[in-house]
């Protein structure tokens, strides 16, 4: 094997691992904060008469907030690098840590104002602002956000250092932030929204629209909070999100490293075809395994 390709594949493995960790941390962060899609249920619950102790933060959709965190982190990291002038491994590492740290501070500010603002607007429904929820959850989601953002910055930096992409650091981190938010919002949220928030409903069906807002409020012991949700989603939703984002980043560059020129386009088409076939099998399996919800009526 070409030595250059081996170095590139090694770097790509690091990138894929960073993407996997980013995906897991991103999904768990959105579970603690109940950001993105399932937040509609948390927001709706007090209006339906179900007061709860879940964290309610919807700064924006995940695919909008993560690129901005990544861009802030990348700009900070570049500023730190330009001040220290140390572009060695340690210098870059601490610059990325500094970028992710500043990002998590901004994340904490947004999360606090978002929680206070959203819950305060529901005072007419009797929903209290729980200061202990704010105090215990905010550092947890900031920490998860730190891990996710550091991983995005790391993978963007490795991609640039290995000349995988000509795009500048900030733009590349921004775009991978959008992709990370997209995967986190599309994959991980289903585990939280369909399963965890409606655990008292029978398993194996979508949530009936008539039940919207009646989220589960009691935990295995005491009242449920959002950290319990992250514990539950870390068993399947988080890892699957990580796998999804890891695959997106890894296969995107794998097709350009292993083969070059027009062959990489062909490799991309073949991978897409494989996913189409796998999806068709999955659909058929789900139908045979779970069966129908209604009886067929002769027309």
């Amino acid at each position: 094997m070409d030595p250059q390709m081996m170095v590139e594949l090694g770097a790509l493995t690091l990138v894929g691992a960073a993407a996997l960790i980013a995906g897991v941390a991103e999904d768990l962060e959105s579970d603690v904060g109940s950001q993105s899609n399932p937040n509609s249920q948390v927001q709706l619950a007090p209006q339906m008469g179900y007061l709860h102790r879940l964290y309610n933060k919807a700064i924006s959709g995940e695919p909008a907030s993560y690129p901005f965190y990544a861009a802030i982190g990348a700009s900070t990291a570049l500023s730190v690098l330009s001040v220290t002038g140390n572009s060695g491994l340690i210098g870059v590492f601490f610059a990325l840590v500094a970028g992710a740290f500043v990002t998590s501070l901004i994340h904490g500010v947004y999360a606090t104002t978002s929680y206070m603002g959203r819950v305060a607007s529901q005072s007419r429904f009797g929903q209290p602002i729980y200061l202990d929820v704010l105090r215990t959850h905010t550092p947890v989601l900031m920490a998860h956000g730190f891990v996710a953002n550091f991983s995005v910055l790391l993978l963007s930096w490795v991609l640039i250092a290995q000349h995988f992409s000509p795009f500048p650091f900030v733009v590349l981190a921004f775009i991978w932030g959008i992709a990370l938010g997209g995967v986190g919002s599309a994959v991980g949220d289903v585990h939280l929204g369909t399963d965890r928030y409606y655990q008292d409903r029978p398993y194996g069906s979508g949530v009936n629209a008539a039940h919207s807002g009646s989220v589960v409020r009691k935990a295995e012991s005491g009242l449920r909070n959002s950290i319990d949700c992250a514990w539950f989603c870390s068993k399947f939703g988080g890892p699957l999100t990580g796998l999804g984002f890891g695959l997106v980043v890894y296969l995107h560059f794998w097709k350009e490293v292993v083969v070059t020129s027009w062959w990489s386009a062909l490799a991309g088409v073949i991978i897409v075809a494989i996913f189409v076939i796998m999806n068709t099998y999955l659909e058929r399996y789900s139908r045979q395994r779970y069966g129908t919800y209604k009886e067929e009526v002769e027309e």
């Binding site: 500048p168 991978i271 068709t280």
Partner: protein
């Protein structure tokens, strides 16, 4: 260097982005509760997530091929299609194994591609769940179109800015010249313009080309034409005052 042909590429790219968004199966927030068919995130964001991943592919292809037009736009489309196929498949794994629901569409009785029955598999009080084959294929077509559109916009801007001598300079140890950054930033802007226009036209959720909302596509094309023409003109005109701009 400013050229009318580049402007045409940007307008065509914008129309392709706007059209591509209509193909992508978007379930929005209800999809996270398995209440709607499609991938569970917003229209603009899903299209941007896949299309801009395509832009990364197009950027690498443009740089490695020395500005080969065909290779750049094909790699943009293929990279975007790859992203959405992984995303929709992994989301389907979550629906099947995490939520225990079969993949079904509520807009058609039979899947036009597999001919499988749909309505019996839709649970009570929902509008379908997951991304069934027809929506999956539609999403791949949509992401390909959006990726090709984004790559066309990037190609036009990069080719236009590369003609300016000052933009060919590099900064510090950074290998890529200035024009790459500028073209990428403007391409992201024009991408979002067209995604948001299409998203208003769709208004929430869409399952793909078999959805009745898909018939609204002509309006979106007209809107994309106007916003891309204006946005593209601004993006191209920033260079005319510079040495070598015209």
């Amino acid at each position: 260097m400013f050229s009318l042909l580049y402007w045409v590429w940007i307008i065509l790219g914008g129309i392709l982005i706007g059209a591509g968004v209509h193909f992508i199966p978007v379930g929005g927030a209800p999809a996270a509760m398995s209440q709607a068919t499609g991938v569970g995130t917003g229209t603009t964001m899903l299209a941007a997530a896949s299309g801009l991943t395509g832009l990364i592919g197009a950027g690498s292809a443009y740089a490695s091929s020395g500005g080969n037009f065909g290779y750049t736009i094909v790699m943009g489309g293929v990279s975007a299609a790859l992203m959405i196929s992984i995303l929709a498949f992994i989301a389907n794994v979550m629906y099947v194994y995490g939520a225990g629901v079969p993949l079904a569409s509520a807009k058609v009785k039979y899947d036009p591609i597999t001919k499988w029955r749909q309505d019996l598999y839709v649970s009570r009080g929902t509008e379908g769940h997951g991304t069934p084959t027809v929506s999956f294929i539609s999403g791949i077509i949509g992401a390909f179109l959006a990726g090709v559109g984004g790559a066309l916009v990037y190609f036009a801007l990069a080719a236009s800015y590369a003609g300016i001598s000052g933009f060919n300079a590099t900064f510090g140890g950074y290998p890529a010249p200035y024009y790459v950054s500028l073209a990428a930033a403007f391409a992201i802007g024009i991408f979002f313009l067209n995604c948001v226009m299409a998203s208003y036209n769709i208004g929430g959720t869409i399952e793909g080309f078999h959805d009745p909302k898909f018939r609204r596509l002509p309006k979106s094309i007209a809107a994309s034409l106007v916003v891309s023409a204006v946005g593209g003109l601004f993006a191209l005109l920033i260079v005319v005052m510079l040495p070598g701009g015209i």
